[in-house]
């Protein structure tokens, strides 16, 4: 078998080594356009997992590499004058120059034909080989030659970066965040040999321009020439961290980060690997590491599969999905660096946590597994923000919080399912029993969803309401029972379903319209149907607005009389108030349509009215869809403008959700899927924020709280199922009080 490899970087060389070592009868040729020792760049980082792979794939090269590596454990975050370290990682790094030397030497020993200063002018000249490897880097010629088959996509991500070295000693993977008049800069630093470290500086395009760093055009510099004006500037900027040491240049100039993706990695006998196939932002891991992992996957596929055809498919199927996973994490990471200005001003522990967990591959739970002392310290910091430093660390979910005038004993909330058995708005006894159980579930805040402010404001025909005094009394009775169990703050979520009204009970689906003869007339900002099957609403007449405001006010008064601690006005998910806020559903040309100041007038009237009627010492929340999750919906600035006005009108808590503005919204339901929106509202707006959506465990909540994305979280439904042995104990409790008292006491002691 003859194998032609285009590119003699680490990926190409390592593939050549593994293929030749696997079967010495193979003819392996590597074409490298540069000279053997003609290399750019500083260090290359490997994770523990990659090192294990390298050891298994080729022991002789691994041993030399291991000898030459610098190794360390911590990640250090320098921000706001503090240095925070996270341990429990395992890194090794080597100079790129040394790595290439080791790989070249090993390839020669095995009999690989290494051809330097050998630029492949026309890839088709190689096509009589059995296998052609495109390992020729980010500007791959092989990829370009077969572009119609590989279908590459190159994305310039809007971040500027420059590779430098430093003689300053660093003993951790270090992130430095610093600020100048022009904006913020961050450095990513790691040691790779005694006395030298890689020092990558990155900033946004805007900052780069504002700092005048665009004075030298990178394209005007000769190959190998560095941008010395920039280096002098950065030397100064990071002086506090360099202790007089220099930043070292080696072909150093500003570059635009470009993400490379290919629809396909294989065409006929040609496969791509390394940067030619994919790039992932350096904040997640080095491209060299990925290239060498590609090499291992390819060699493994060829040695374990009967035909080359299957082997190349096997390589792609083994490797492409995991690389795409890494690219996804890298894009989360890039996104974090693009938005961290929002977190500028966080206390250092929270900023560090946010950075360490940015790619969503690390969360509260596995950060604790890596470095429990750090997470204990973070827990203490979280709890100590009210001035008292707890000796025993407590997870953020169990930290109390003052929301307006209301103290919540912890940061967990539950939203109880809407009633599916109410008769003309009168809550069913089943529903009220459920309320009593939820109030006893140890969440500090319990909200009952779907409580209509009027008969025509109901979503379904079986929704409960609070539009009559009799309904108010039923709620009061249930609440009195609930109070005997738990000490949760209990509230009603007041809803006017607007265009989502007049639907059938939820047991067989939502949004299923009632037959015409049983449907009530619907109102909305504009006559826009919620879904293709929904009844069409009529535009809410200005003359009828006051009545709707009064419905909300009366509902709030009844909730107050019934003794509820909280109410939440639902202005999200496509209901009547939401229909005013979104440009997708508000097409009015009167004073209530147009820009956001006008679109929010009516919802604000409702909030104002309710605030006046609702006791000042009880919690008022408003629920809002911070994105419509469809094109041309409400934008960030509009959402922040609404939140601003809500705060000004005495709203204590903003509950941030997303979507359902119409049935066309395209949600994703990944972990804590609304937290990115509550993050926006909390950190670009102001005041306490609650979020909900796919947080089934307390650790999911801890993560959202610790990273500063929200202040209170709605724990996911359904509540975890209880095992038989636990429910068995509970049943016994009811049957025989004396024995269970003893049993409970025993259990507590054991715990």
């Amino acid at each position: 078998m003859r194998i032609e490899c285009v590119g003699g970087g680490p990926g190409g060389l390592y593939t050549a080594i593994l293929l030749k070592a696997g079967d010495p009868s193979r003819d392996v040729v590597v074409h490298e356009r540069n000279a053997a020792d003609d290399t750019f760049g500083f260090g290359v980082v490997f994770s523990a997992a990659t090192l294990r792979g390298l050891e298994g794939a080729d022991a002789p090269s691994f041993e030399r590499l291991w000898e030459a590596c610098a190794r360390w454990d911590p990640v250090e975050v320098r921000y706001g004058g503090e240095r925070i370290r996270a341990r429990g990682n395992s890194f090794a790094a080597i100079s790129r120059h040394r790595l290439l030397h080791i790989l070249q030497e090993r390839a020669r020993e095995l009999g690989v034909d290494l051809r330097f200063r050998d630029e492949v002018a026309d890839v088709s000249d190689l096509m009589d080989a059995d296998l052609v490897l495109g390992a020729d880097g980010i500007n791959s010629r092989v990829r370009a030659h077969f572009a119609e088959h590989f279908r590459p996509r190159l994305t310039v991500e809007g971040s500027k970066f420059i590779w430098l070295g430093t003689t300053q000693r660093f003993d951790a993977f270090t992130f430095i965040f610093t600020e100048s008049d022009a904006g913020r800069f961050q450095a990513h630093i790691y040691p790779f040999s005694a006395g030298v470290g890689t020092f990558i500086v990155e900033c946004s395009d805007d900052t780069w321009r504002a700092a005048g760093l665009d004075a030298v055009n990178s394209d005007d510099l000769a190959p190998g020439e560095s941008d010395h004006a920039t280096i002098a500037h950065l030397q100064d900027l990071f002086a506090d961290h360099l202790d007089g040491h220099d930043l070292v240049a080696n072909n150093s100039k500003w570059l635009d980060w470009t993400t490379v993706r290919n629809e396909s990695w294989r065409h006929d006998r040609v496969v791509l690997l390394g940067d030619a196939a994919h790039t992932a932002h350096f904040s997640i891991g080095s491209g060299t590491k990925l290239a060498m992992e590609d090499a291992m996957a390819l060699a493994d596929a060829i040695s374990t599969t009967t035909t080359l055809d299957h082997a190349l498919d096997a390589y792609v199927s083994a490797r492409k999905p995991s690389v795409e996973g890494i690219q996804e994490a890298a894009s989360e990471s890039l996104d974090w660096f693009a938005r961290y200005g929002r977190y500028w001003g966080f206390d250092p522990p929270q900023f560090a946590y946010s950075l360490l967990t940015r790619s969503t591959r690390v969360d509260y739970d596995n950060l604790r597994q890596r470095d429990h002392r750090l997470v204990d310290d973070l827990d203490r910091w979280y709890a100590a923000r009210d001035g008292r430093v707890p000796l025993v660390p407590r997870a953020p979910a169990f930290d109390p919080i003052d929301v307006g005038p209301t103290r919540l004993a912890n940061r967990l909330a539950l939203v109880a399912t809407p009633d599916d058995g109410a008769v003309v708005g009168m809550p069913s006894s089943q529903h009220l029993d459920a309320l009593v159980r939820w109030a006893d579930a140890d969440a500090a805040l319990v909200l009952v969803d779907g409580v209509a402010v009027s008969a025509t404001g109901r979503a379904t025909i079986t929704d409960a309401g609070v539009w009559t005094d009799e309904q108010g009394r039923r709620w009061a009775e249930a609440l009195a029972t609930a109070r005997r169990g738990g000490d949760a703050r209990v509230g009603l979520r007041l809803v006017h379903a607007g265009p989502r009204g007049a639907t059938q009970p939820r047991d067989r689906g939502i949004g299923r319209p009632l037959p015409r003869d049983r449907a009530w007339p619907l109102v909305a900002a504009s006559p826009v149907r919620w879904s293709s099957t929904a009844h069409r609403p009529v535009e809410l007449d200005v003359g009828d607005m006051e009545a709707v405001v009064q419905d909300h006010v009366e509902a709030a008064r009844r909730a107050a009389d019934a003794g509820f601690d909280a109410i939440e006005i639902h202005a999200g998910h496509g209901g009547l108030l939401a229909s005013f806020l979104s440009p997708l559903t508000n097409h009015r040309d009167d004073d209530h349509g147009g820009d956001i100041a006008h679109r929010m007038r009516f919802p604000l009237r409702v909030v104002e009215g309710v605030r006046a009627a609702w006791p000042r010492d009880r919690l008022l929340s408003v629920c809002l869809s911070a994105s419509d999750l469809e094109p041309d919906g409400i934008d960030h600035d509009d959402v922040l403008a609404v939140v601003d006005q809500l705060r000004a009108n005495g709203v204590d808590l903003v509950h941030v959700v997303s979507g359902q503005t119409t049935a066309r919204s395209r949600p994703e339901y990944g972990p804590a899927f609304n937290a990115r929106w509550s993050d926006l509202v909390r950190n670009e707006g102001s005041g306490p924020v609650m979020t909900s959506g796919n947080m089934p465990t307390v650790d999911d909540v801890n993560h959202v709280l610790m990273s500063g994305q929200a202040d209170v979280c709605v724990l996911g439904r359904p509540l975890p199922a209880l095992p038989d042995w636990l429910t068995g104990t509970r049943t016994a409790e009811r049957v025989d009080i004396t024995t269970t008292t003893e049993r409970t006491a025993g259990t507590k002691e054991q715990a």
């Binding site: 999905p321 293709s532 099957t533 949600p667 339901y669 972990p671 996911g716």
Partner: protein, 292 residues
């Protein structure tokens, strides 16, 4: 967790007259359901016709479409077929619907691929409506037809949560399944539905020294996915132990009903699976005893 078996209607080498025999054998136990797959441009038997044949020779076992590519079909006639099947195998049908993955099935159809997602959403609501309004009526007495939706994308989960009774997952390593179940539950809660969705999933098996034939079938059946076909073929369950481990992991991750599809069209594949399920049931009954 219930465990069902696939009918061999999607296996090119199958003897078409054996399908009914397979169904009759399966009805004898211990499997809970018989499931069919749907492909148009492929050497396979129609799913609804196959289930009708199965209905005629069975009395106990549940019947499942897993899945039916609904957007390829006219809605009222599809509703009539499904309700008829549900009447002739009284109350035993669960209809799993999805958009399907293959472009060529749409290429030969009168319905386009571009709008298939929205079309499926509309069809889902419409089947319910036709049944409830009695516009499409069938004789007999049976509970309402249960509808499942397949797919793991956000829009698929949203569709499922809004209008279906449950979710049909397309098979994946158990750890990934666990995360996807959490998403299905979250979609359900986000839509304001009470309770939780019923969760179904599926896997492929080949027992008794037929692993290679099974993998070859999967590589062919999923050839349109390109390199991904190899991954699916690698996931083939080829021993009783693998089937038990996989089932246990799925049960632990919140699966209510697991469908195991044959990849080799011989009747002994059904018997071999029945043996695995029988022994698994008796073992687990044994270990449960002391705890109670």
């Amino acid at each position: 967790m219930k465990v069902g078996v696939g009918l061999p209607n999607g296996l090119p080498g199958v003897d078409p007259t054996m399908v009914a025999q397979w169904a009759r054998h399966a009805d004898a136990g211990p499997l809970d359901s018989l499931a069919v797959v749907d492909r148009i441009v492929y050497d396979s038997l129609d799913p609804v016709v196959s289930l009708a044949a199965a209905a005629a020779v069975t009395e106990r076992i549940e019947l499942v479409t897993s899945i039916l590519i609904a957007p390829l079909r006219e809605t009222s006639t599809m509703a009539k077929q499904l309700l008829s099947l549900h009447a002739m195998a009284p109350g035993r049908l669960t209809a799993g619907l999805a958009i399907g993955a293959r472009g060529d099935d749409y290429d030969v159809s009168e319905f386009g691929q571009a709008t298939r997602g929205q079309r499926l959403t509309d069809q889902l609501g419409r089947i319910r409506q036709l049944e409830e309004d009695g516009e499409v009526r069938v004789p007999g007495d049976h509970p309402p037809l249960r509808l499942l939706i397949g797919g793991t994308s956000g829009p698929a989960l949203s569709r499922m949560a809004q209008l279906a009774d449950g979710w049909l997952h397309n098979g994946s390593p158990p750890r990934l399944f666990h995360q996807q179940v959490a998403e299905a539950h979250a979609a359900w809660a986000d839509a304001g539905r009470p309770g939780r969705p019923e969760v179904w999933s599926m896997a492929y098996y080949a027992l008794g020294d037929t692993a290679e034939a099974g993998r070859d079938y999967l590589l062919d059946y999923y050839a349109f996915t390109g390199a991904f076909a190899q991954r699916i073929a690698d996931g083939l369950l080829t021993s009783p132990l693998e089937i038990r481990d996989y089932s246990q992991a799925y049960a632990d991750a919140g699966c209510d009903h697991l469908l195991l599809f044959p990849t080799v069209p011989t009747l002994d594949q059904l018997d071999l699976l029945a043996d695995v399920v029988t022994s698994a049931t008796s073992t687990s009954a044994g270990t449960d005893q002391p705890a109670r």
